[in-house]
Amino acid sequence: MENLEALMHGFGIALSGNHIFLMLIGVLLGILVGVLPGLGAPNGVSLLLPLTFGMQPVSAIILLSSMYWGALFGGSVTSILFNIPGEPSSVATTFDGYPMARDGRPSTALATAFGSAAFGALAGVVLITLSASWVAQVALAFGPPEYFAVYFLAFASFVGMGGSPPVKTLVSLAIGFALAAVGIDTVSGSVRLTMGIDEMVKGVSFVVAVMGLFGIGELLIAVEEEFHVKAISSKVEWREVFRTLAGLPRYGWALLRSAAIGCWMGITPGGPTAASFMSYGIAKRLSPRHANFGKGEPEGIVAPEAADHAAGTSALLPMLSLGIPGSATAAVMMGGLMIWGLNPGPMLFVEQKDFVWGLIASMYLGNVVAVVLVLLTVPIFAALMRVPFFIIAPVIVIICTVGAYSVSNSYLDVMLMMGFGVLGYLFKKLHYPLAPLVLAIVIGDKAEDAFRQSMLMSKGSLGIFFAKPLVTTLILLGAALLLMPTIWRTIGRMMPRPEARP
């Protein structure tokens, strides 16, 4: 109960007028960068960082983390209303959120998303509160083999549980890996796969790929299939919002499962993107209504949203306790911590109690502020849905272009983005899954590094992945997920078919 006492102390710090004001500002800016594709939480937080140098560390982290919550919520708004994921972690929300909004139920879709997201975030914060110091001790034993095993698990679940043709999934995943490898290799320092273009040394940013694949690609699909944005009422129907929120407990099992997946992926640095995809994939597999997935199934919104926010929140746990960021945004925040003169790691819990518990308490408050603010600002974004498609299309092209350019002030990125747009259209048209490609770009490098560091440790023997119980369990679980469809098919063939159906 020592943790609860510390938390109460933290609330005392977070509940000041100054800090509540910082939360409001942070969340609003976060929603803005979350809604604008190309300006994601990592960019937003890094752009805000210089402003925090003069602040108290606890005020600074409250501002930055509130921006993170705002961005997580804002990313879902455009996913649902425009089918443009504002953040890579809200890509999976487009699968069912967008069809539901298109069918004339945007209020239901948004309320389902925010309700599940709030539940996921709450699960993440409770987890941090209860286990912050304890998890730090356990995770101290994590080495490169364990990290690789976790990444392997995430990738295996794609090929095994994605539902797309396995070879197409594999090609998509491998292209992502290859793109992640472009640029400077972090282990050896050598330059790879630049194809003779010097500027490619900086690598291919996932933002550029996401802008093209999802922004431009979807746009091309939309015009080709003669899709029109229906004029939807710009009002958020509050009665519908409350009715939806009250109905969420029906998806209790999905919420709990997704929050658990999210927490796990947040702590082991799989990140929110991997968590939301994995949760969506598993929900699609397990749900009795799996045929409805992709057509506006509520559980298809619940699963990625709860996991996304659970992972985004719990990603701060390893950052604080170990100095290992669980997501890109957490990495930027960790940079801030060091600039403010703090030392991320287990000692933070001993030396900087006010900072750690003030932050944790602010996470409860910040998420409440985020849910309220995002609901209040939705009418502004929903109003954009009434704008005719021939106006929206150029706006999306311009936003994607500017977004791709602003990643590293490079025109080459704009060209790449257009290329990804054509590829995205072809892939979507021919049922290649896009999600594995993006995920592989985001964490492919880290997975490769973890593998090579493991090999260095074991002097080239794969036995290191079976040396300890934890890593062996993770690897076997990944292999099982990979082979699951094949096994199920074989069992199905061996079982006698039920004859004579009535």
Binding site: A178, V223, P394
Partner: protein, 155 residues
């Protein structure tokens, strides 16, 4: 008109060529095991082989299970109406800069669809450029490209 077969084949060719390029390029970095551990070309090499093999598989599959026409003239026309102006917009950015390019793009799109007056289109075009400036240049301090025109005018 484009058949499902040729679309599948074209996509498999694109991924296959990319895979081959990755394989060839990774050979420069060295593959296999060295004193410094796994060499930096190994992982891309394997990934490239997977892409190449997968593309061949998809090519054969796509060819065998060909579907009828997937893109008729009407679909192709609609695709072109979106893609051609977008490509021109991106193409002229290095010449005239992001702000004029965006303004012309918005103006062109609105004028083409002939809804509302040209005045409205002009207002929307200037509005788009100003909005870009306010959000990116001022708020987030992302400097957008000025293009050759901007350099000429001294921005």
């Amino acid at each position: 008109m484009v058949s499902g077969r040729s679309l599948e084949a074209a996509t498999a060719l694109i991924t296959g060529v990319f895979g081959a390029a990755v394989v060839v390029s990774s050979l420069d970095n060295g593959i296999g095991w060295s004193a410094a551990g796994v060499e930096s070309g190994t992982f891309p090499f394997i990934v490239g082989l997977v892409i190449l093999a997968g593309s061949v598989f998809n090519l054969v599959q796509g060819w065998l299970h060909a579907r009828v026409v997937v893109l008729g003239p009407a679909e192709l026309r609609r695709l072109a109406i979106l893609f051609v102006p977008a490509a021109i917009f991106v193409g002229v950015i290095p010449l005239i800069g992001m702000y004029p390019a965006s303004a012309f793009y918005v103006f062109g799109a609105l004028a083409w669809h002939k809804r509302g007056s040209l005045l409205l289109a002009a207002v929307a075009a200037i509005g788009a450029a100003v909005a870009l400036y306010l959000i990116f240049e001022l708020t987030f301090q992302v400097s957008l490209p000025r293009g050759a025109l901007g350099t000429l005018l001294g921005f």
